[in-house]
């Protein structure tokens, strides 16, 4: 759906998105990295009907991009910056409770 204007970023980090490793530019948000790099077409399923959803506003107000990041559910992927070694998973429904 999306691509980067500059294909060769200076700094990159490796993150795992739904089990697959990706090299993505440092400084990107998780949502941006997923939209530009991965084949993950949806990032969560909805609470009630389990329908696929994906980032919608990218400014932190719609809460559509909730994902499980490093084991913590209900993280807004558009507000979290990628870090080397980060593990990002699609969230099912309301997500698992975590400490």
């Amino acid at each position: 759906m999306f691509k980067r204007i500059n294909q060769h970023p200076e700094d990159s980090v490796t993150i795992t998105i739904n089990g697959l490793p990706y090299d993505v530019p440092a400084g990107e948000t998780v949502a941006a990295a997923i939209l530009a790099s991965s084949n993950l077409k949806f990032t969560r399923t909805s609470f009630i009907s389990n329908s696929p959803r994906a980032p919608f506003c990218l400014m932190g107000v719609c809460y559509e991009c909730l994902m499980v990041i490093n084991g913590q559910s209900n993280q807004r992927a558009c507000q979290v910056q990628v870090e080397d070694g980060m593990i990002v998973d699609r969230q099912k429904g309301t997500g698992l409770l975590s400490t």
Binding site: F2, R4, A32, K41, S46, R53, M59, C62
Partner: protein, 463 residues
Amino acid sequence: MKSHYSLVVIGAGPAGLSAAVVAAQHGLDVVLLDDQKAPGGQIYRAMESIPAERAKLLGAEYLRGRQLVSALRESNVDYFADCQVWSLNNKLEIGLTQNNKALMLTADRVLLANGALERPVPFPGWTLPGVMNAGAAQILFKSHGIIPEDGVVLAGSGPLLLLLAWQYQHAGVNIKSILDLTPMHNHLRALPHLPRALLAGHYLSKGMAYKKDLKMAGISTLHNVSNLQANGKNLLESVSFQHKGRTETLETELLLIHFGVIPHSQLSQAAGCNHQWDNSQQCWKPQVDKWGNSSIDGIPIAGDSAGIGGARTAEHAGRLAAIQVLFQLNKISQLERKKLAHNDRKWMREERHIRPFLEAFFHIPGKLLREPDDHTIVCRCEEVTAGDIRQAVADGHQDSNQVKFLTRCGMGPCQGRQCAEAVSHIVAAANKDNYPRAIYRGRPPVTPLTLGQLATLYPEEQE
């Protein structure tokens, strides 16, 4: 972060930046809280990190933010990025989360400069992955240099749609089509406001220049489009719509939508400030006077969160609100206030010339706001449909808040940000009211907060 400041400014867009800087310059201790990683707000996003060639693609207006951001860096404002403010009350107590810890602050004055969000307009299929706000796509472009692959469709009504199309065209994006949902009769509606708008002719000529560039580039624009619908089983596959009396369908993986912007008023609602319906801007906004003072003593509101005026107006409104705070806290005299405010007032007057025209020209059709079909999801979080809302009204729950209690509409993680306005329209239509009469009451926490975060407020009680 200290536990008390003379002035707390919430939001580091044009209004918050200019307010914080002018207040600090006159000796107030000021803290600026923002939920982003860097100052600039949505409009001047990534101002400090953007590569020069990308900034050029965004146009000259964008670069105006550079002076605002550097003024902040040169000031002695306490600036905190990455803060979530989840509570504000009429005692001027602020609850926020920073680094996963909750904090409480108090202040002599709290200036709200929360900015705007894109008006959420429910239509069939708008929850499908592949449908995204145009502003969201612009954020990807500004912050990360990310653009759509070939075949994107843009749809809606409003200046941002045109601007984004123009920016994309310059960045080499292959746009499949622009679907302009502005009804033709809006031209007539806007006509009486044209003479005044000509006083701010640079806006009009800029819009015309964008249109001309898009036409020269051969990008298909369909005007007077209606009945927009996103189709697909699990993902967006196509977009259908009415044009010239026919139903047409375009295949696409990506639909970017835009229906103007509305004030982000979650905090002013939660604090208990009076809000009113603005029929010209088609949104709820807080009541403010010419200095930005809200109905609650000590809580001024400036910029788009006090009513949509655009980035330039926000900058001046922010300064005016800060000047008034300086006056109220005896940092400047009445005469100094007048002198300081003179230039900003002049700018605000000039900027106002264009607004009535824009508001009439991009007036969103009532049918689109008030009459989504029964199956259309309105509350994206709790998956409440327009039909559920109308049923609740038919059952006697005739107010937005009653509908909320009954249906859970607006009780999901976004706390009604994406459905509050739409519900107020649908309820009004079901009650045969011409205008919305009520909107959800806001309550803290206005953003989700975990018990673990909240518990950090009382570290002495921990093990």
